[in-house]
Symmetry: C2
Subunit: 211 residues, 2 copies
């Protein structure tokens, strides 16, 4: 692991490079150029080369990067080869969808428990889990050495759920509720703001109308 | 609408600024500084000022940006005040969650119909919609002047669904399936790659273990 942390804009592009490299490996292609990697992330080749200095890989002039080796290095850097455990609070449709999402396992994530505060939902089977009451969060988090909490409750319930996660010793939170959480600076919160993503699509739609 | 399109990195920050401005307006705060806007998006104040030249707003030295006016301008630029219509294909958990998501309405998005190819699901009521067969997509898209297609089917079904959307005249696609779609260059595809988002969290979790 590098001693300094990778700057966020570079970090955000690494999964796009990795996805492109996986395609190359699947297709039996040995080398991928920085131009090809850049196309996958929407940046110029020079930016790719700069980003990849953080993961300590250099391309070969005229050939590019060795796809399998660079993919392995990126997986290592991003921690995708280590097992990580998460709990999910909010067993509604979005929570159920994430609990059953097939793309998380290959990234080393295992969701170990599902919680809800609604007594009508607690005890029911959702995506293969028996939904537990939020009161049990601290016990379960300690038992399973949980790394991350995923929040899929409505906006008005998110702050109290986040505080319960922090109290249970969880330091990384993936927040799907459309609200800004107020937590200690030491807690890493990643907001999955679907409305912000929609804004980018909205811009494209309205531009097309003007054409 | 500006004649040239806003560069993607700047564009991606505008929703963060907008969210921060909405908080200010809610709190009755009249001005927001570029430093405060930058904190919301994780960039320095100078970058904020540069980004906002695209939406034709200048701050006042020493006071910052007028929150209400800049929010209105950003909403206009991003097309959030115009009505946009979408269809959603894939009435599983994720599709149901998105169909019921309360954050889209305020952005001007209306989902007009839900589709699924599974005959066991077609005809059922999901999130207030009667699920329709994918065969009806072209007819419904023309009838409602649909702007966007949302794909929430499994990866292996996504390409054929995307092609059906394009054939129905839809030019903007929001793809939640964890796969790369191969479509004409004129089609705007935005991938919501949850595994890529997870990679950023994975990096944080593994770094914390090393501390």
């Amino acid at each position: 692991m590098p001693p300094t942390s990778i700057p966020v804009p570079s970090l955000r592009r690494l999964p796009s490079y990795l996805r492109r490299l996986h395609i190359a490996v699947e297709q039996g292609v040995a080398y991928v150029s920085s131009r090809q990697l850049g196309a996958a992330a929407g940046v110029p080749a020079a930016q790719v080369r700069k980003d990849l200095t953080w993961v300590d890989q250099e391309g070969r002039p005229g050939r590019g990067y060795e796809a399998r080796a660079l993919a392995a290095q990126l997986e290592l850097t991003l921690g995708l080869r280590e097992q990580k455990r998460a709990v999910l609070v909010g067993a509604g449709n979005l929570g159920s969808a994430l609990a059953a999402y097939p793309g998380f396992g290959p990234c080393g994530l295992r969701i170990v428990a599902l919680f809800d505060k609604d007594p009508a939902v607690v005890g029911k089977r959702v995506a293969g889990f028996v939904v537990q009451p939020v009161d049990s969060l601290a016990r379960v988090a300690a038992e399973h050495q949980v790394d991350m909490g995923i929040i899929t409750v409505p906006a008005e319930a998110a702050q109290s759920v986040a505080e319960a996660m922090v109290a249970a010793g969880i330091g990384v939170i993936w927040n799907y509720a459309p609200t800004t959480l107020r937590l200690d600076a030491g807690i890493y919160v990643q907001n999955q703001d679907l409305a912000a993503e929609l804004a980018l699509l909205s811009y494209q739609i309205v531009r097309r109308r003007g054409e």
